[in-house]
Symmetry: C2
Subunit: 314 residues, 2 copies
């Protein structure tokens, strides 16, 4: 869609030139033979195997990432990996990433795209398309595409009474990292890194799908909110024995800090899940409790676990 | 990705509640059996047939659509149909649309989504996912997904010397409509409608793919820019005999106004293209000239056609 301004006034800055510079950065990634990306009206991808999995996420500088504490490169990186986490949550294999960036004139668009490319390279994916626009905010809308061969995607709604509940790692690292950064910690601090460059659990998600788990989601808003969402979708309750709190994080950060992007899994065959993780060299998943039939039972160590965690102001 | 604010302060407005209201609007569209859309980490679509075609476009209120002259519903509608036009340009059959909306608190998000749903219903597609965020601007990032069975997508780069060049309709309607709206014309004015509710030429794109045309693109930035892009990608020149100027539009609006979203087609078998259009009940495409081998020959009625048209300020 174009701006409703006199086109003759728009020639000073050439979109095509900027796009060419961005294409050089983006094109430096791995490109599959027979696929066409940037440069046509749309990207052309080779046929998907099985179900197609798609999700979109928008990140706004100053809202989703503090511009005083982090860089534009971090914004590009985190926008991509947090979106990829939604593919991980379905057990999908990533096929491509699209970026739609809007920003005020003078914004270093190449930094944003460098960060995005670092994220796709690190995770073995590729940027297949994008768009640029002016605007007052710096916003990065990321769409991720993946595929689920075989039995297909793992939904939130499949948890059954008696299933074991597991997470792929200790919680609270991202929230602790943000707190530490605000207190003056370096960008290289391990917990700060967990906040600004979260890692999507793609390998874990695919392994869990292979182990035929019943339900899965990523912990983006804190387990005290996300586990309720999974239980609602599955029409079940839960009883948690314990929560694994990451070193350096508080119990509150682990419970409702959000942005850990660990996976939450429900399965009736945890041994198979553990074996699948072991075979693929993945860290052992951590059992936190079990699914119970009564929808109103939502407990941690026998006490009600209140529904709380991150909610966007809309 | 979450906002780096204290999560306990964010509970006054419930994202889940807003999402539920939006889901009701979006869910009112046609949903294919066996597909899961809003409500999980990602949307799950049944396997694509052939190549997967994807594109993303961002529209910003005040930049891409004048907030004084048009409504939020128009923004949602136009963001979707202008993005679908990129699928039309490849000859793709649409499979789904994702919306990532950011807006200041108090923005009528339901209006934006109503417009988007009207657009997907009118074009026989469906919204399969989305995201919402705060922000100072109202931005709508739209990702479109499609498929190309058989020989696959039609690229910009396939035009060959001797090909006939055609367009799917007269040009300049959108630019004329914007001018008329600024002069006080009603929203229902036919040309104003062409500006605020453009129609993606999906049926025409699929018919052209079926006719094995050599190259295709949509005219989003004006033919005086877009035809150069097609010629550059195909490493050819062009000689235009004439341009079809829409009733009520000026020659300048037809040449470089942009946003007409008519398709530009290069084929060595125009009779087959015409027959395919006729069979499907589509208006006859209009021949405008031919492709020539010399890359530097870029003429309209024997005179050089300067490269000009809409370029975003970045």
């Amino acid at each position: 869609m174009n701006a409703p301004t006199d086109p003759t006034k728009e020639r000073s800055q050439h979109e095509d030139d900027v796009l060419e510079r961005i294409a050089k950065i983006v094109g430096a990634g791995v490109v599959s033979v027979g696929e066409h990306y940037v440069g046509d009206d749309a990207a052309v991808l080779k046929p998907f195997v099985g179900e197609a999995i798609v999700s979109t996420d928008v990140a706004v500088l100053g809202i989703h990432l503090d511009a005083e504490l982090f860089s534009l490169r971090d914004l590009g990186y985190k926008a991509v990996t947090s979106a990829l986490s939604d593919l991980a949550a379905m057990g999908a294999r990533p096929r491509g990433v699209l970026l739609a960036v809007s920003a005020p004139p003078g914004t270093d668009l190449e930094e944003i795209h460098q960060g995005a490319v670092e994220a796709t390279r690190a995770t073995g994916t590729v940027i297949v398309g994008g768009d640029l626009s002016g605007g007052r905010d710096v916003t990065v809308a990321v769409t991720v595409l993946g595929e689920c061969p075989g039995r297909g995607a793992v939904l939130r709604s499949g948890a059954r009474a008696g299933d074991e509940l597991l997470v792929t790692g200790p919680l609270g690292r991202a929230a602790a990292g943000l707190r530490r950064r605000r207190e003056g910690a370096e960008l290289s601090d391990e917990l700060v890194e967990a906040h600004r460059r979260p890692w999507p659990r793609l390998a874990e998600g695919m392994a869990a799908r292979g182990a035929h788990v019943h339900a899965m989601m990523d912990l983006s808003d804190g387990i005290a909110l996300d586990l309720h969402r999974l239980a609602d979708a599955s029409q079940v309750g839960f009883a948690l024995d314990d929560l694994p709190v990451a070193a350096g994080a508080t119990e509150e950060e682990a419970t409702s800090g959000g942005e850990d992007y660990e996976l939450l899994i429900a399965t009736n065959d945890p041994a198979r899940l553990r074996m699948m993780f072991y075979d693929r060299g993945l860290r052992e998943p951590i059992t936190i409790g079990r699914v119970v039939p009564e929808m109103t039972t939502r407990t941690l160590r026998g006490k009600d676990l209140a529904r709380r965690g991150f909610q966007h102001r809309l």
